[in-house]
């Protein structure tokens, strides 16, 4: 318990300076590292002849889509041709077309669902030129979109910013420096980092043992920092080479939490900016830590996160009654699929974090979690707004925030406003689209899977847990998370194609609609707050927001959850 609380305390301490740094980067304010990075960035702009004009939401969205499309093409070629290219010391074959399709969509959309196993499926060159490359670019794309969205909502400027500039600034000023420093810490603790082939040794009993090696640490750190989640090795961060000690476990936890958390702070500060300029242009006000608007959003996210964490921890700690009957003590909790060095507490924390912050890396096997312990990650991917990965979570939470002011506005019969802008029909339609597409993808594809032979063949655990496996796969795909109930035999045409589509639509429909909302709000005139305006910066709003999120989730997903994890829990404990 204590170590969970302290890990979260480190997160809160780390997120405050990072939020400030990120805010300065987003708004082109001065930071301590400018003398170095200004030179690097200006060099890049010059060499690449990047046009640094501000963009409308349409131009911004088009630039993002076009860039992602070109990257997909480049990555696809590398995967298909990896056997013929260099840096392939382990002699890996080229990848099959539907698996390549799934993999490339998976990494470009920041999902990192893996239907291959890193040890046998990818050459080192593919790990670098496809996986690591996309871990940087998909994360940068997400944060760029989020920054543009915040600029729209904050309404300080006339445009959403410049996509190419955002991509470069995020990569050079945040992603690469952090990855270099903490990558070295991972190596120090035991993550391999080599271009040499896999290692074989002779054991003291005269047998042989293989170790899959490679540039593991380089991938490992950006995997977490970019909330990507796809492991170098099949079993991801459970393996000692990806996550050797408790220190690496905490580095990985903080790395995946820090940027989504910092996004909320950045948003809060940006909204504050406008008021500050209006009211007290002459008076110098100290920069707030959170900003009032950011604080309510951060609080609402934290409440949902902590509720989930508690359920997951208690459920895992309670253990598995079946094993208890078989004669294995359960005082330490359910250890099937977990590592001794992490135990139940760090495993439950990692599980909740990886799905709340939509990373998708795992330090224990989610398929073997207890039913309710496994329901928490499932639910948080279904919500997809509890911090969330790469800026997208914040945007989703703001969708719920707009929905909340809309519903409250209906109750009192006033035109709803958010951040001084009227919320009208056009915005609400787009919000509804974003909120509906996600459950539609999850439940629609799950229904398809359980009603077709090709889908049913993937299920490997009998009974209610089988449905959980299917739900988990599509929730993970649609929320761009990437963790899995790994028992599912998902490297088939059916699963590769359907989950590929879920990832694609889950990512791009939402991002385009959200940028459109930002563009639409930006174009509106600011209305003065009156006595009848609902305040969105107080405790009541945070609580309302939490309730709206839970009610929305319950109405949409409860029937499916009841048939999966809840039914499994009841049969396990009460039959």
């Amino acid at each position: 318990m204590l170590q969970i609380a302290l890990t979260l305390a480190i997160f809160v301490l780390a997120v405050i300076p990072m939020g400030k740094y990120m805010y300065h980067i987003t708004t082109n304010k001065r930071t301590f590292a400018d003398p170095l990075f200004d030179r690097v960035d200006n060099g890049i702009y010059k060499v690449c002849r990047i046009d640094r004009k501000g963009m409308s939401w349409k131009t911004y969205a088009l630039s993002l889509l076009m860039t992602n499309a070109v990257m997909v093409l480049a990555g696809y070629l590398v995967l298909r041709l990896q056997h013929a290219l260099f840096l392939n010391p382990n002699g890996i074959e080229g990848m099959e077309p539907t698996l390549s399709f799934n993999t490339i969509i998976s990494f470009m959309t920041n999902t990192n669902l893996q239907h291959y196993s890193g040890e046998s499926g990818l050459s080192y060159l593919s790990q670098m030129l496809v996986i690591i490359f996309m871990m940087f670019t998909s994360a940068a794309s997400g944060y760029a979109a989020c920054m543009a969205f915040c600029r729209g909502l904050a309404g300080k400027r006339k445009d959403l910013g410049n996509f190419y500039e955002d991509m470069v600034r995020i990569t050079t000023r945040i992603l690469i420096p952090w990855s270099m420093v903490f990558g070295l810490i991972l190596i120090w603790q035991g993550c391999p980092e080599t271009f040499g082939a896999n290692i074989t040794v002779e054991t003291i009993q005269g047998k042989l043992q293989d170790f899959a090696a490679g540039p593991v640490a380089a991938l490992e750190i950006i995997k977490h920092l970019g909330t990507n989640g796809g492991g170098f090795l099949g079993a991801n961060s459970t393996t000692p080479f990806e996550n050797p000690t408790i220190i690496t476990n905490i580095v990985e936890l903080i790395s995946m939490m820090i940027l989504p958390g910092a996004c909320v702070l950045t948003f809060g500060k940006m909204c504050m900016d406008r008021k500050k300029e209006k009211t007290a242009a002459a008076v110098k006000i100290k920069e707030p830590v959170f900003g009032k608007q950011g604080r309510t959003i951060f609080a609402a996210m934290s409440i949902i996160f902590l509720v989930g964490l508690a359920v997951c921890f208690v459920s895992e700690k309670a253990g598995n009654p079946v094993l208890e009957t078989a004669g294995v003590g359960q005082e330490m909790g359910s250890m099937e699929g977990k590592e001794v060095r992490f135990g139940v507490d760090q495993s439950a924390l990692f599980t909740t974090v990886t799905t709340s912050f939509t990373t998708g890396t795992v330090n224990n096997m989610h398929d073997t979690l207890t039913p309710l312990g496994g329901m928490v990650p499932l639910l948080h991917m279904m919500l997809n707004c509890v911090f969330g990965g790469k800026g997208v979570g914040l945007m989703n939470m703001l969708m719920y925030a707009i929905l909340t002011v809309f519903i409250c506005g209906l109750m009192v019969g006033r035109t709803p406003e958010y951040l001084g802008k009227k919320i009208e029909g056009r915005e609400m339609k787009l919000v509804a689209l974003v909120l509906i597409i996600h459950p539609l993808l999850i439940l629609g594809f799950s229904a398809l899977a359980v009603s077709t032979q090709a889908g049913l063949e993937g299920i490997t655990n009998p009974g209610f847990h089988g449905l959980s496996q299917v739900l988990y796969e599509y929730s993970s795909a649609s929320a761009n998370n990437g963790s899995g109930f790994e028992g599912l035999s998902d490297n088939t045409y059916f699963w590769n194609i359907t989950s590929g589509l879920a990832m694609f639509f889950g990512r791009y429909i939402a991002i385009i609609a959200q940028l459109a909302i930002a563009g639409s709000l930006l174009a509106k005139r600011q209305v003065k707050a009156s006595i009848g305006t609902m305040r969105t910066d107080n405790v009541i709003f945070a609580i309302l927001l939490v309730f709206i999120v839970y009610i929305f989730a319950a109405l949409t997903f409860f029937p499916a959850l009841a048939l999966g994890p809840i039914a499994e829990h009841l049969t396990l404990w009460f039959s």
Partner: protein, 215 residues
């Protein structure tokens, strides 16, 4: 059309730039630094039979941070159940195709799965046969459950101590000696707070083998 081409051009430029910076320069730089500063760890934390660090796979007998399979020899400490047999194999296994290359992973059996119950039931029965002093229900949870990675190097101190009487009988080493070996290879919590107490199985077994004169 003209503006479409402009988008494509900018996208291609950005892609090439990112490929070079993030896909090639960054991993190359980190590999260079890692190999220079932490050569032992960057090459898999290999250890020799004496338990010394090495980067030479010909001298190594395993990795300090990866578990190893000892299940066919009652004289050694047993690690956790592995879904991939710790990637340990013989030339024969490779020839007949029962070992196809390194992998990782757990059992992926749901808590409600009958197969899990059967596996654990069998394991408990075998364990009690080997360790007649142990009562049912006293077996620690980590020992007979599969690890997530299939390569967990550790067991809990309880799981190590419960094996001592049987190992003492099989090897002739005194229980006291074995307890010392376990204590020497037990790592505590980091800063007294983070993580869990754990015993490195491979390191224990290297000391057992040395005491028996096997190496």
């Amino acid at each position: 059309m003209k503006s479409f081409l402009k988008y494509v051009k900018s996208a291609v430029i950005l892609t090439v730039l990112m490929l070079i910076v993030c896909g090639l320069a960054y991993p190359a730089a980190l590999t260079g630094l890692g190999q220079a500063i932490f050569p032992h760890q960057a090459n898999g934390s290999l250890v020799t039979a004496e338990g010394e660090k090495t980067t030479d796979s010909d001298k190594a007998v395993g990795s300090a941070i990866v578990g190893q399979d000892f299940s066919d020899d009652a004289r050694y400490f047993q690690g956790r159940v592995s879904g991939v047999n710790y990637n340990v194999y013989t030339e024969g296994d490779k020839a007949d195709g029962s070992y196809t290359g390194p992998g990782s992973g757990g059992s992926n059996l749901a808590p409600s799965n009958e197969e899990l119950k059967k596996r654990v039931d069998d394991a408990v029965e075998q364990f009690l046969e080997k360790h007649p002093d142990v009562k049912e229900g006293e077996i620690p949870a980590d020992l007979l459950t599969a690890s997530g990675s299939g390569m967990d190097p550790d067991i809990t101190p309880q799981s190590a101590k419960i094996q001592i009487p049987a190992i003492s009988e099989a090897t002739g080493l005194s229980e006291r000696e074995l307890e010392d070996i376990v204590n020497r290879n037990t790592a505590g919590k980091t800063l007294g707070i983070f993580g869990h107490e754990r015993v490195n199985v491979l390191k224990c077994n290297l000391e057992v083998a040395k005491a028996l004169g096997e190496i």
